[in-house]
Symmetry: C2
Subunit: 198 residues, 2 copies
DNA sequence: TCCTTTTTCGACCTTCGGTCGATTTTATGA
DNA sequence: TCATAAAATCGACCGAAGGTCGAAAAAGGA
């Protein structure tokens, strides 16, 4: 590994941490180079712009989550659980990885939006695969799978990303998921218990 | 009407036009005061900050659209048409959406997001009322109306705001709307023809 | 007219992303 | 080993943008 590659990775990791804890807009390039102990020019030797760096940071995050999602999709658990599992991989609720809190501050809209878009492109196909699997097994029945998956992801993001959702929200989400995928009523009901536990 | 009120309204209208045509981020305070022919200090005599002004501009937009939505909701057209009508009234920026619409959504995230949030709070209740009306008439059948309406608005926004949607998108949207509201299949099918016309 | 309130002005400040030519460090090959 | 090229680093400087502030002009009474 060349010196340049190490430096770039170091900067990406510093930025990742700062973006997640303080937010993208609230983190200045100055903040990053200060912690890294380098000059402005060095920063711009590795990144075209601050926003381009954001893109790379998000790429790192997405990669991780996509890998987790693929793992779940490829496992042997029941299909409905896979659906939920892939969903859950989108929201890393890890201790330090508390992306949620900072991410949903009103000021972090830009970053949040970019993540959503990329997540749609990477998690979408994975989820579609699971749905197809479910159709093959006869527990789902629907056409236009990519479109339906997109709706699920959109709704799920809007609902659960905020962190605040009621019993009724979950009930309707379950109902919609079943109807959207053409599953028998009750197929996804286990979600309620899952959420109740944490 | 005092002089100050007139000036503030003037500034709001200039800002509204610029925010809609060029985008919020691409419109500087300098741009606004230049067109108004006033000094920086005068601007900040009327507004705390640029973002606070955005809030007021959005307030104006929302008020207009909410009024249009109420008009439709209170009219005598069939319920399903009311649903679609209220949806259509959500179109921000009014008419010119050829170049703007697409370009905006890309880099005007902040404004777009604030509008969405406010729209949810104002159009949501109106739509819920229409759905209740539909239930009373027996063409809809569902519980948790606010939650279902929210999902409709979220999906509708995600789908139609972009301007780019396929035949399959519309088909799934129709299917989901009917199932979400508990309507007979075909109840909302007319949407397809509506979109086909323009 | 004198005093108060409202409105206006614009020079100046700070922050921030970004540029650029110079300089140092590291690799290469004769 | 030394000259030369390539990679990496530096930091002063720039321009745009949002925002501040004290003073002055205009408007409104009494």
């Amino acid at each position: 590994m060349k010196k340049g590659e190490r430096r770039k990775l170091e900067l990406l990791q510093i930025a990742y941490r700062k973006f997640v804890t303080a937010g993208y807009e609230n983190t200045s390039v100055e903040d990053i180079i200060e912690e890294a102990g380098i000059a402005k020019g060095t920063y711009y030797y590795y990144f075209e712009s601050k926003e381009q760096m954001l893109e790379e940071v998000i790429g790192m995050m997405i990669e991780q989550e996509a890998e987790a999602a693929r793992q779940i999709a490829g496992s042997l658990i029941p299909i409905p659980q896979k659906i939920v599992g892939v969903f859950a991989s989108m929201r890393p609720s890890g201790e330090e990885n508390s992306i949620q809190g900072a991410l949903h501050k009103a000021e972090n809209i830009l970053m949040h939006n970019k993540i959503r878009k990329r997540l749609m492109d990477t998690i979408g196909p994975i989820l579609s695969g699971v749905v197809e699997e479910g159709i093959a097994e006869g527990i789902f029945s629907c056409d236009n799978i990519p479109q339906r998956v997109r709706m699920l992801l959109t709704i799920g993001g809007d609902l659960f990303d905020e962190g605040q959702f009621t019993e009724a929200d979950v009930a309707v989400f379950i109902d919609m998921t079943e109807k959207l995928l053409g599953a028998k009523p009750g197929t996804m009901a286990f979600i309620r218990d899952l959420i109740g536990q944490g």
